[in-house]
Symmetry: C2
Subunit: 195 residues, 2 copies
DNA sequence: CATCCTGATTGACGTAGATCAAGTTTATTT
DNA sequence: AAATAAACTTGATCTACGTCAATCAGGATG
């Protein structure tokens, strides 16, 4: 489990053997079965979690009770309601497992102590957040400028794994479409291909 | 100029007097007049810029030639095509000045040297990016879940300064609406108020 | 003072995608 | 293997918002 985490961090910054050991000490492993919640809206999100295996979804429920998925976290990604985690306020997202999932969790106190004891971790997270920001920016542009079909095609190109592993209705929710619409879009695409 | 920058950083991390001096040495000031470009699509975005005065917009032009504003940068905010800046690839955003604007610019080499010489700057940017990520996440949720009217109302509540300083058609572009639609929405809102 | 130019408003009309509803297929659970 | 639930498809209809086009108001600019 821990190797996945360490390997992921080593891609961005260097850590001594000792730092690696210290780092690991801040994390606790946890297993989630399918459909199990990691964070529930209105709880406080006490942990930042690194996915070593499986797949999580973060989603928000609007006033009408509709779910809107804001992100998927595959192996090698982090998951958390960042606002809740860093501020200590109530979470506005739910996070649950789409597949059987294994994670490594760190608490806020742990996080803070970790960045003090291993300062390059600030750099690691600076780079991580910086990259996420670029990705999120792209999604925002896509959400506003592209048609439903374009959004789906882009996602399928950039993230083929997701399309394979995630049920179609969740993909629809992720790109902001009604499931029926996505179904029709896929039909169109494939009928166009075969002609 | 520099005081605005230093003050802004000191809100998040501590800097010694010496570090402050070193920090300043990495930045060069620049003035932009109204409508002047800071970054043009297809150029490489060579700088990360901190706005000390004025107002910038970052926008993306789609295949049909439509502009989509992705962010405004007021005093105290940063502006850049982050992807282009950090990767050295061509920019996909344009950035220009809505008002007369003064900025402080740092190059990528400067940025890298700065984080090595003043390691807490990694922490500063970690926190900055972390907060931006939360904000961007919120916008994404809003873009997908809210109606046109809700989007406008939220923006007006969270960011009244923007509404005052930015022409309405640019606000429309920012929330992903046709200018006509925003005009009608405002009319509805005010007619409802007066009834 | 006249003329641009940029931005805002209003109306008529079109369309992408949502919603509702029914039926079918595919997974889980027992 | 039966039972139940979740996921996907298809059709009919509705609506929020976009598009096009004309008009209007207020600053700049000559």
């Amino acid at each position: 489990m821990f190797e996945v985490l360490v390997a992921h961090i080593l891609e961005k910054v260097a850590l001594t053997e000792e730092e690696q050991t210290v780092l690991k000490s801040f994390f606790t492993p946890k297993k989630l079965r399918k459909r199990q919640y990691l964070v529930q809206e209105a709880d406080i999100c006490k942990h930042l979690s690194f996915v070593t295996k499986g797949l999580l979804r973060s989603y928000h429920v609007d006033e009408k009770g509709e779910e809107h998925i804001s992100m998927f976290s595959l192996e090698g990604w982090w998951a958390s309601d960042m606002y809740s985690f860093f501020s200590g306020e109530k979470a506005s997202f739910n996070i649950d497992a789409i597949e059987e999932t294994e994670i490594l969790m760190i608490s806020l106190e742990g996080f803070e102590e970790m960045t003090l004891r291993i300062p390059v971790m600030d750099r690691y997270f600076r780079i991580l957040f910086q990259n996420s920001l670029v990705t999120k920016e792209r999604r925002l542009v896509s959400a506003i400028t592209h048609t439903a079909e374009e959004k789906y095609i882009r996602l399928a190109e950039c993230n083929p794994t997701l399309i394979q592993r995630v049920p179609q209705n969740l993909i629809a929710s992720y790109i902001g479409l009604a499931p029926e619409t996505l179904s029709r879009i896929k039909k169109n695409i494939s009928s166009r291909k075969s002609s």
